[in-house]
């Protein structure tokens, strides 16, 4: 994940999260659990994790489905020519001012039409040096926080240097154990899924 191409633009935002609109045709459609960032002002960027990707309803598509005469050319037209909007929901987990990364909520949310870009491998490595953002993810209501964290950690481990990948996951497991020591079933469910391959 090294692309710096914009993948969408902010539709609406608050301090704790924001929603981004993008088109199917974007070079790299973002995935659930990806670390993304939005440069918001001089030297400041907001970091977030994608917790929902939603294809918006479209009356024309609905009509085609109801009719059921799906010609391949019409499907390609709908997917590639028409502006089928995708909405991406992002949970804010930190921000960066100049070179310094902070884990927690930023002083200001992104503004409408700010550009969303996928975090680079370097961004992911820099952001995951500290794991304080786990608490924000696990405590956010109405998002599948456990699933977001599992997917995000697997991907984050892949971009660590090979010799530190195992240690990265062990550290993540320890932090999770500290935060979820009151809910062992939930902890076990996450740990089993991020366990490093021996």
């Amino acid at each position: 994940m090294t692309t710096a191409l914009p993948i969408g633009w902010v539709l609406r935002a608050s301090t704790v999260g924001f929603t981004v609109g993008c088109r199917v045709l974007q070079p790299s459609v973002p995935q659930f659990g990806d670390l993304v960032k939005v440069p918001v002002s001089d030297g400041m960027s907001v970091f977030g994790l994608i917790y929902n990707v939603q294809v918006q309803d479209d009356p024309a598509v609905r009509q085609l489905i109801l009719v059921g005469e799906m010609e391949p050319e019409a499907v390609l037209d709908q997917r590639e020519n028409r502006l089928v909007p995708i909405e991406i929901s992002v949970l804010v987990v930190g921000y960066q001012i100049d070179k310094q990364i902070f884990q927690g909520l930023p002083p200001q949310p992104p503004l409408s039409l700010d550009v969303l870009i996928l975090g680079s491998d370097a961004d992911i490595r820099a952001f995951t040096k500290n794991l304080d953002y786990f608490r924000l993810v696990l405590n956010s209501p109405q998002i599948p926080g456990d699933e977001v964290l599992v997917t995000h950690l697997r991907r984050a481990a892949e971009v660590q240097p090979p010799e530190t990948q195992r240690q990265f996951l062990l550290n993540a497991g320890r932090e999770l154990a500290r935060l979820l020591n009151f809910d062992l079933v939930r902890l076990d469910n996450i740990l089993r899924r991020i366990r490093p391959m021996s």
Binding site: Q63, L66, V67, P72, E73, A74, L76, D77, E80, N81
Partner: protein, 403 residues
């Protein structure tokens, strides 16, 4: 003052009762019209005599007879859906406009066109094409020699010409490069509506339009105009003539059409899924130039529905050179049904061409905002009229206080 819906509601009830009360009479008239259609199905000579008489009455009186004339095909005949070529290209264009508005910040108008090229059986995504939108603002674009502002009808003529021009640019190009037949579909009638133009311009514009039709003919592009839910009564006018003795055809009786509350699509309600009616020729004043150029306008009715329980009839207009070419006629017939099958009743390419061309109210506002900024940069003072300002204040201001 808002619309008093409680007062409308009473009238809506009365309207419903009235519609139901008229239905038996309409059904009787329809049965009579369909009976005449069958009776005269193979008597074109007698019908042509009546048409000549009606048109003579038109010449001697200030009254225009508009109707249909039979062709070689029996009037009541039904033509089933021909096989559609597996590979087929269908091109459609559409246009949209911002009309000049004396209450806007300045006078201008804008024409936008959209086009789609759909290649059935190709497994390729359709190509879309949006020619550059054209903004008109020079005095010679806006005013005639007497200083009158261009009418909406004149703008519409420019839009219609632009729509056909797109087809003329792309249709022949595809016809030369792809092996399959190329169909060009227009939304609406094939003729250019010039009635709103100053008399001096009518013929020039028609000649320009006919020149574009010539190009499509020369390139073997299969051209059709698609009219959805037509209210036309061309065939019924002919059937009314059939109901009169030839001596009875005079101006007075022509004005008193017994079938005036019916429409042609009711007359042809016996068409099954995919079936078309016989082909007719349009008879109306002002079409001579098309006839002289070999583009005599014909039409048929077509049931584009695939469901016998819910027929959906459209009128398809086509020029004489397609009528004379049976394979091309069958391809047009099959192409329209195949296209309509995608959406369940309306050609997919026409729906998409409309989407590509349409200027939304937000886009219009954006154009006006750009104009306002540019005018200010040029030291001008853009202002909407007081009438428009008050309309905006009273229409939209109320929203702010709504809970």
């Amino acid at each position: 003052m808002t619309l008093e819906l409680n007062q409308v509601a009473q009238q809506v009830k009365a309207m419903g009762r009235s519609l139901a009360e008229h239905r038996p009479h309409l059904d009787e008239e329809l049965a009579r019209a369909q009976s005449l259609l069958r009776e005269f199905s193979t008597r074109p000579g007698e019908l042509h005599d009546r048409i000549q008489r009606a048109e003579r009455a038109q010449q001697s009186q200030r009254f225009d007879w508009v109707g249909a004339a039979p062709t070689q095909e029996p009037l009541a005949e039904v033509y089933s859906l021909p096989p559609c070529p597996e590979q087929l290209t269908v091109i459609a264009s559409d246009g949209s406009q911002i009309h000049p508005d004396p209450h806007a910040i300045t006078l201008y108008y804008l024409i936008n066109t959209g086009c789609i090229i759909y290649r059935h059986g190709s497994n390729q995504k359709p190509e879309t094409y949006n020619p550059k939108p054209k903004l008109y603002y020079e005095p010679e674009d806006l005013f005639d020699e007497q200083g009158r502002l261009i009418s909406t009808g004149e703008v519409n003529v420019k839009r219609d010409l632009a729509e056909l021009e797109v087809l003329t640019n792309l249709g022949p190009a595809y016809a030369q490069t792809v092996p399959e037949p190329v169909v060009a579909l227009m939304d609406g009638q094939l003729t250019l509506r010039v009635i709103d133009l100053p008399f001096g311009q009518q013929q020039d514009r028609q000649d320009e339009y006919i020149g574009l039709l010539d190009q499509l003919r020369e390139a073997n592009v299969i051209l059709g105009g698609y009219i959805d839910r037509p209210r036309s009564t061309f065939a019924l006018s002919l059937i009314y003539l059939a109901s009169l003795d030839i001596e009875q055809i005079n101006e007075e009786n022509l004005r008193r059409n017994a079938f005036r509350t019916l429409t042609d699509i009711e007359l042809f309600n016996f068409l099954g899924p995919g079936e078309r009616s016989a082909i007719f020729t349009v008879r109306a004043k002002g079409l001579d130039r098309y006839t002289f150029a070999g583009h005599t306008i014909h039409f048929f009715y077509l049931n584009v529905s695939q469901n016998p329980a819910s027929p959906h009839l459209a009128r398809v207009e086509l020029p004489a050179w397609i009528v004379a070419n049976r394979p091309a006629l069958d391809t047009l017939h099959a192409a329209i049904v195949r296209q309509a099958g995608i959406t369940g009743g309306y050609p997919y390419v026409l729906a998409r061409a409309d989407e590509l061309a349409v200027i939304s109210s937000e886009e219009r506002e954006a154009v006006e905002l750009m104009l306002a900024v540019e005018m200010r940069q040029q030291g001008l003072a853009p202002e909407i009229s007081l009438k428009q300002r008050n309309k905006n204040a009273y229409r939209f201001g109320r929203e702010s206080f709504r809970l």
